[in-house]
């Protein structure tokens, strides 16, 4: 038997062998629990996924490709990617700034900011969509101003981007805040005492420490940006080939009895979900190892 020299080895050993033997239940309990979990998973996760791809390919691979190559579908895909490409980087910047502020500084309103960041999670997406209609719509607060200057926000691409940003903005910040809080500020303080400037500290010390958590948040944020339905539906105006995103296009196709095309386009969303899942699993591992690295090196230091 290999002698475990430090805590890092202990943890990696433990990761490989699963939970300790002390917690073992009788065999039949374990079997029942596993079967229940698997059935549940199959019924609620695997089966729908199978249905999506099955319906999508019902009329053959050619019909599938046709449905995706259709100009309206392509424009929906393009718009969805545009919205994500604008919303995600902006939310990345905002998320890092907010997490930095909340994680490292004490200031008035810090708790309020933490709470407000969660607002998009707690508000129904339909309501958040309506809020933007009330702000930027013809009769909204900024309506007359926008009309005077011939600017279109609602029922146009900017509205969709804003709605997407709103519903996705907690993801990055939410992921980073606990990470930065548990890590503490010791390393940054050390860097500062050695004469590093703010940017230097951020790029050389903080960022390497939070990078996987950051990517994790970005991944979730992207997934939600692509899949958002409610808020976008309210501000879209549903102009075909112009302001329809992928989820809206799926709904329209389904309502037009075009079931296989609807599922073909929906399968793109399912694929993006699967990719997200894969990235997420990979990143979760990285984050775990990072945390172990730190605890490990601290132990060693002692």
């Amino acid at each position: 038997m290999k002698f475990i020299t430090n805590i890092r080895d202990y943890y990696s050993q433990k990761r490989k062998s699963g939970p300790s033997n002390l917690l073992t239940e009788p065999l039949w309990v374990r079997i029942i629990l596993i079967v229940v979990a698997i059935c549940f998973l199959a019924l609620f996760l695997v089966l729908p996924l199978v249905v999506v791809f099955n319906e999508a390919l019902m009329n053959g691979i050619n019909a599938y490709l046709e449905a995706i190559k259709e100009p309206e579908a392509l424009s929906a895909i393009k718009l969805t990617l545009i919205a994500a490409a604008i919303a995600v980087p902006l939310n990345l910047i905002f998320g890092v700034a907010a997490a930095w502020a909340i994680g490292y500084f004490n200031f008035k309103g810090r708790n309020l900011l933490t709470t407000l960041i969660d607002l998009p999670f707690t508000v129904s997406p339909v309501v958040s969509g309506l809020v933007f209609v009330l702000l930027f719509g013809r009769n909204g607060w900024f309506g007359p101003f926008l009309q005077e200057h011939n600017l279109k926000i609602i029922f146009a691409i900017p509205g969709i981007v804003i709605a997407t940003m709103f519903v996705t903005f907690p993801f990055v910040a939410r992921e980073l805040i606990p990470l930065m809080q548990t890590k503490g500020t010791e390393e940054e303080e050390a860097a500062r005492s050695l004469g590093a400037g703010g940017w230097q500290i951020f790029w050389r010390v903080t960022l390497p420490n939070i990078k996987w958590g950051l990517l994790y948040g970005v991944t979730l944020c992207t997934a939600r940006a692509i899949g958002e339905f409610g808020a976008v539906s309210v501000v879209s105006g549903h102009i075909r080939g112009m302001t329809n995103t992928i989820p809206l296009h799926v709904e329209i196709l389904y309502n037009e009895y075009n079931v296989s095309a609807a599922f073909a386009v929906a399968s793109l969303l399912a694929l993006s979900a699967l990719i997200t899942l894969a990235i997420k699993t990979f990143l979760e591992r990285k984050i775990d190892i990072d945390i172990l690295d730190q605890t490990g090196s601290k132990e060693e230091g002692n």
Partner: protein
């Protein structure tokens, strides 16, 4: 390590920031002298307007040497009206009900009060009605409105609070009893027959109450109900737009459903108008007006019939077979039985109105 991360993130950020404007440009930049119109319509007209837009673009190019591209937006009729009021820049609206367009005047002030008189036939270039869709062979033997309350019959119809088709179905059922009791609907406007009319209204109310006891689910819109009936297989009879019923049969197999035409039903007048506030700003009034006028041309009337709307002028159709597509039945207007749409809304569908009362007591 830190340099790698730095590079990675810088690359990601700059890529995202570069892609964003690049991919936005082509969306905004396709306006090479092509006039663009936006037609805001309701759900089932999509296929019709897709064809009509081509026909009109050809016509306009021939007569005015200009290219025109017509964008379409479809959704629930009342919801679409709301979007136009909130700023969706529709040059024309082509909605399911005159009341939806009235809202654009009353709440949005975007069109004048007399919008209905600006085009022929109350601004309805095509009409429709409510008929029954039943399962193949009509196993429950449903022939007319009074069969809907037979034992064991399940009726599928959307919620009158949110759906135009549902309101028409409700009013049609009501009108059927009025006609049965009074024998002539003209009596309704005759002050001498007031007592008789009151008695008939009582009967109508009882019938409609009973009918909604046969409704297992109320979907929010017509398409939702059609899908409940057709795809989920619920219910024995669907109260449907005539054009929706034809379309469902066409798209999902004539071997599954039959259309049953009741002895009498209600005349639905989908209405169209130019949105003055928008066209004046966009300077598209001329072409938008012509877009609607051309709906009355023989070519467009024939196209409407092809998509199962009853053309306002069937005499214009070259293809007489198309005119015969529509079964003959007695159609009454909302105004004959309920005075006006506004009155019908107030008495029957407003909060606390008759529908609320019977639906709550029915449950």
């Amino acid at each position: 390590m830190s340099i790698k991360v730095k590079l990675l993130i810088t690359a990601f950020l700059s890529a995202a920031l570069l892609i964003a404007p690049l991919s936005v440009t082509p969306v905004f930049a396709d306006s090479d002298k092509t006039i663009e119109l936006l037609n805001v319509s309701y759900d089932p007209t999509r296929e019709f307007y897709e064809q009509y837009n081509k026909v009109f673009a050809n016509y306009w190019k021939k007569t005015h040497k200009q290219n025109v591209k017509i964008n379409q937006s479809h959704g629930g009729s009342s919801k679409q009206a709301r979007s136009v009021i909130d700023g969706l820049e529709a040059d024309v609206v082509t909605l399911a009900m005159p009341t939806d367009i009235d809202a654009i005047y009353k709440i949005g002030h975007l069109i004048p009060a007399n919008w209905k008189t600006r085009l022929k036939d109350n601004s309805s270039p095509y009409t429709s009605t409510i008929i029954f869709l039943v399962r193949k062979g009509n196993p429950k033997n449903i022939k007319d409105w009074n069969d809907l309350t037979k034992n064991g019959v399940e009726v599928i119809t959307p919620n009158p609070k949110t759906s135009g088709a549902a309101r028409l179905s409700y009013l049609a059922a009501w009108g059927y009893i009025m006609k049965k009791e009074l024998r002539s609907l003209d009596k309704i406007s005759d002050p001498k027959a007031a007592k008789e009319v009151q008695a008939a209204e009582k009967k109508a109310r009882a019938f409609v109450t009973e009918m909604y006891k046969h409704v297992p689910v109320l979907d929010s819109g017509a398409r939702g109900s059609t899908i409940t009936f057709v795809q989920r297989g619920m219910g024995d009879v669907l109260l449907a737009w005539e054009n929706e019923a034809f379309l469902a049969i066409n798209k999902l197999g004539p071997d599954k459903f039959d259309i049953v035409t009741p002895s009498l039903s209600i005349l639905a007048q989908p209405s169209v108008t130019v949105v003055d506030n928008v066209v004046n700003r966009k300077k598209t009034k001329e072409i938008a007006t012509e877009y609607l006028n051309y709906l009355y041309s023989p070519e467009a009337q024939e196209l409407a019939a092809k998509y199962y709307y009853r053309p306002a002028h069937p005499e214009l159709l070259k293809n007489k077979k198309l005119a015969e597509l529509f079964p003959k039945l007695e159609l009454f207007t909302v105004d004959t039985v309920f005075k006006s749409w506004a009155d019908a809304e107030k008495t029957h569908f407003a909060d606390g109105g008759i529908f609320d009362q019977i639906y709550i007591s029915g449950r």
